[in-house]
């Protein structure tokens, strides 16, 4: 299994990058392959015991995204390659960080406080890019704090949920969630608002034996969605564009119809790289990269990419269920859900299954903050899977044997 993925990945790397006779592309391809192999060696030699497949799957997505981005714009592709390098460093950094600091329930105040601080910073000093006021100018670059809040948020929620939910505790949790979501709605970042709340719901559901609190939260969310629909015109306009895209084809539905044209024109096997016109889609390198991918490499490739996300979800959920520490198990669930739900939201969005919300396609879309945060996300997951103290005792033996069975493959490469 692992070998197959590796071969497919290496093969894909070569075939993708050797096609254009562009030295920068070859350089990026070569560096990526080298970075991947070095990282794998570090994982095998120094940080052994974790789930390697996690890293493989993520790198597969990364190379798909890099190839597509480079094709759309060599400038963005090159930038993204640097960000990917930083991302891989972020992967190891978050691993080391997690190894140094053990997160306990008492940290929830600190975590909650930092979330609030970041949200307030964004609210006060934030600048607006592409209609959402969720960016901060750091002079040398713009960052999206919400991408990093995600990670803190997952641990914050995990801490809050690590104790048996009572009515009083639930009230506190609900108040925190409401505050966070309200900030995002005010910043016109509807994608984040939805993502955070759904991740919270999923995490709550895993802990909430009777399901009462989950149902109450979900009910409140539906009510909130209705109120927001009438209160905020930008939400209404998205919904209208979703219900009848062809009616507003040259207005508010322009983006989504261009996206549908791209996927429809590409068909099952696609037009071929460089043979389509994905640039007609606004924001094609961020939110709509999945449409560009479908146009040029076909729905077939779209499906195989989705299979990768499904695989990542399986791995993440298994890490969560094997983890004995309630906070870390919950966190693994939350981190995996972040990626899975974000993928579902944006893929369904660009296919007009649900209204479009501006979130990135994990590991594929262009975006510094988001790629770095996603690498840190899997870095933490890898840590959880690799730390024997966090595993159930009964599972330790099988975990070890599994790691052993992986060894020959990696060394034989």
């Amino acid at each position: 299994m692992l070998n197959l993925v590796l071969i497919a990945m290496n093969f894909a790397l070569i075939s993708y990058y050797s096609e254009p006779l562009d030295y920068m592309a070859l350089y990026i391809g070569g560096s990526l392959a080298a970075a991947y192999m070095i990282s794998r060696m570090i994982l095998a030699k120094l940080l052994n015991g974790g789930n390697f497949l996690l890293f493989d799957v993520v790198c597969n997505m990364l190379q798909t995204g890099l190839a597509m981005l480079y094709r759309l714009s060599p400038e963005y592709g090159t930038k993204q390659a640097y960000i990917a390098a930083a991302g891989i460093l972020g992967f190891f950094a978050s691993f080391i960080f997690m190894k140094r600091f053990e997160i306990k329930h008492k940290h929830h105040l600190l975590l909650g406080g930092s979330i609030l601080a970041l949200l307030l910073t964004t609210q006060i000093w934030g600048i607006e890019i592409n209609g959402s006021k969720n960016w901060i100018n750091l002079y040398f670059t713009n960052v999206q704090p919400s991408e990093f809040i995600k990670l803190i948020f997952v641990f914050f929620t995990a801490c809050l949920l690590s104790q048996e939910p009572s009515r009083k505790r639930f009230a506190g949790i609900a108040a925190s969630m409401l505050t966070i979501v309200a900030f995002f709605v005010l910043q016109r970042d509807i994608g984040s608002a939805f993502l955070f709340f759904t991740v919270y719901l999923v995490m709550l559901f895993s802990r909430d034996v009777k399901g009462f609190y989950t149902a109450a939260s979900a009910g409140a969310a539906i009510g909130g969605a209705f109120i927001s629909y009438f209160a905020f015109s930008y939400i209404r306009s998205r919904v209208l564009a979703w219900i009848n895209p062809w009616k507003y084809i040259s207005g508010k539905s322009y983006q989504i119809t261009q996206s549908l044209f791209a996927v429809a024109t590409g068909g099952f096997i696609g037009t071929g790289l460089y043979l389509g016109d994905p640039k007609f889609i606004p924001a094609v390198h961020t939110d709509f990269i999945f449409s560009a991918l479908c146009e040029e490499t076909g729905i077939l490739n779209g499906i195989s990419l989705l299979a990768m996300y499904a695989l990542l979800s399986i791995i993440g959920m298994d890490i969560s269920s094997k983890c004995s520490n309630p906070i870390y198990s919950s966190a693994a669930l939350g981190l995996t859900s972040l990626t899975a739900i974000q993928t579902l939201v944006i893929v369904c969005g660009v296919l007009n299954i649900i209204p479009i919300t501006g979130v990135t396609l994990p590991f594929v879309s262009y975006g510094g903050s988001s790629l770095l945060s996603q690498f840190m996300n899997v870095g933490i997951l890898y840590y959880i899977s690799s730390n024997p103290e966090l595993q159930y005792n009964t599972d330790k033996a099988s975990q070890a044997s599994e790691a052993e069975s992986l060894m020959p493959h990696t060394t034989s490469r």
């Binding site: 895993s206 996927v263 429809a264 959920m317």
Partner: protein
């Protein structure tokens, strides 16, 4: 808790699976329709990897085709100037016109999914569908050549089906040189881009007397003899007969034969605006004509003052018609009073000549009963036999027709018209000839009609 995680895992997996299924469904059933939406700019932009379909005449002769070259796909017009208005042009910068624009979707898409797939796998080139026309290449070329040096149009229809056999308009342009000549083409005072045959609006003059005659017959006024003194005074506005000639006491048949203005004005005033207006609308003036090319709407204003009624009774004033509409009027009389919908595309076929869609003749409406049509037909035969339209005679064939000499404002020469059909006893083709500022209909338009009719009847 472990159970819950398992549930969540399966929810995620099934959601991913559902999207994959939706993508499959989308690619199989929805993508074709969505991709061919006219707002999909890829239709034009991707011309480089689609070989646009060919356009063929009624005998399968190629009029426009695309072929693949190293630099991409190039479109060739085999008879560029002869079909410039009907087929039009297709330019990335200036858009497209004519059939190239109206049938862009069909020309740019392959109907056969397997062909689509096969060509995609082979070399990324898809062959678009072909458009088969009702036009006859040789007749179109012949008619256009007769208009050389003039401004005008010739339309030939099949009387029983409405198929357009020729739709010539001069001056013309070269559709393959559109990029280089655009500025001079749009600034040219002769308006070469205008398809005079179907979009040019002209005062019909005396050919409109056919419609007035129909109204006279329907109102049983044909037996009234009218005294022609050579001029009529309609509320102080004097209209003369051609050369001021007085025809004396005259009947409908003679009035049509000699195109007597006095007769039709006096009868028109008797009929009044409502009768004239209703008859004009029945003849489809003021109405959109359903067809597969761009057509202007002919005009008959509703006016109640005698002066306007007098003018409109002889096709002057503010009455306007397109040459195509004039030909339809003649064809309807030939077709026992039933007006057929004109059309230029007979079928769409795949690149391998498999017919995908066929267009059948359609009736617009019956505009007069058979008796009325027969009566007008007999009078039209007289016109060509010994009236104003003798120039339209064709040897061994009886031609039915009506001339028109439409006065235009200013000091310009009149527009010359001829409408008719042949053979008169069993009509096959109808014709309209218009020469802008050509002078007399009988002297300028009728001889051209004679030649075109002869040629049209010689075709299979």
């Amino acid at each position: 808790m472990k159970d819950r995680i398992k549930i969540i895992k399966y929810i995620y997996l099934s959601l991913f699976a559902l999207i994959c299924l939706y993508l499959l469904y989308f690619s199989l059933f929805e993508s074709r329709l969505i991709a061919s939406n006219s707002y999909n700019r890829r239709l034009r932009e991707s011309e480089s990897n689609i070989i646009r379909g060919s356009i063929l005449d009624k005998n399968g002769e190629i009029l426009a085709k695309s072929a693949k070259y190293k630099a991409g796909v190039k479109r060739t017009y085999v008879y560029p100037r002869y079909f410039s208005h009907v087929i039009g042009y297709s330019s990335a910068k200036y858009g497209s016109s004519g059939l190239e624009a109206l049938y862009n979707k069909e020309l740019m898409s392959a109907s056969d999914t397997m062909e689509d797939l096969r060509s995609k796998i082979n070399d990324y080139y898809i062959k678009g569908n072909n458009i088969n026309l009702t036009l006859d290449r040789s007749l179109q070329v012949y008619a256009s050549d007769l208009l050389r040096g003039k401004k005008g149009a010739v339309v030939v229809l099949k009387t029983d089906t409405g198929e357009i056999l020729a739709l010539a308009s001069k001056p013309d342009f070269d559709p393959s040189g559109i990029q280089n000549n655009w500025e001079s083409l749009i600034n040219d005072k002769k308006s070469p881009l205008l398809n005079r045959a179907s979009e040019g609006l002209y005062p019909p003059g005396s050919i409109f007397k056919l419609a007035v005659a129909s109204s006279i017959l329907k109102n049983n006024l044909q037996d009234i003899e009218v005294e022609c003194t050579g001029e009529v005074n309609a509320d102080g506005y004097i209209i003369k007969d051609s050369d001021g000639k007085a025809h004396g006491s005259i009947t409908l048949s003679e009035a049509l034969k000699y195109s007597c203005n006095s007769y039709f004005i006096k009868q028109g005033l008797k009929l009044g605006n409502s009768n004239l207006y209703n008859e004009a609308v029945r003849f489809r003036l003021n109405k959109k004509i359903q067809t597969d090319i761009r057509v202007s709407e002919s005009v008959f204003p509703s006016k109640t003052d005698n002066r306007s009624i007098a003018q409109q009774s002889i096709g002057q004033g503010e009455v306007l018609m397109t040459p195509l509409h004039a030909a339809m009027m003649a064809a309807a009389i030939a077709n026992d009073g039933v007006m057929m919908q004109p059309y230029v595309v007979s079928s769409i076929s795949s690149s391998e000549n498999k017919i995908i869609k066929e267009f059948k003749p359609k009736q617009i409406a019956r505009i007069m009963d058979k008796g009325t049509a027969e009566a007008i037909k007999d009078m039209m035969v007289e016109v060509v036999e010994s009236g104003t339209g003798t120039g339209a005679k064709v040897s061994k064939v009886a031609v039915a027709g009506k001339t028109g000499t439409a006065e235009v404002s200013g000091n310009q020469k009149s527009h010359a018209w001829f409408v008719g059909f042949a053979p008169a006893d069993s009509p096959k083709v109808a014709i309209a000839v218009l020469i802008e500022n050509g002078g007399g209909g009988g002297s300028t338009a009728a001889p051209i009609a004679s030649k075109v009719l002869k040629k049209a009847l010689s075709l299979k």
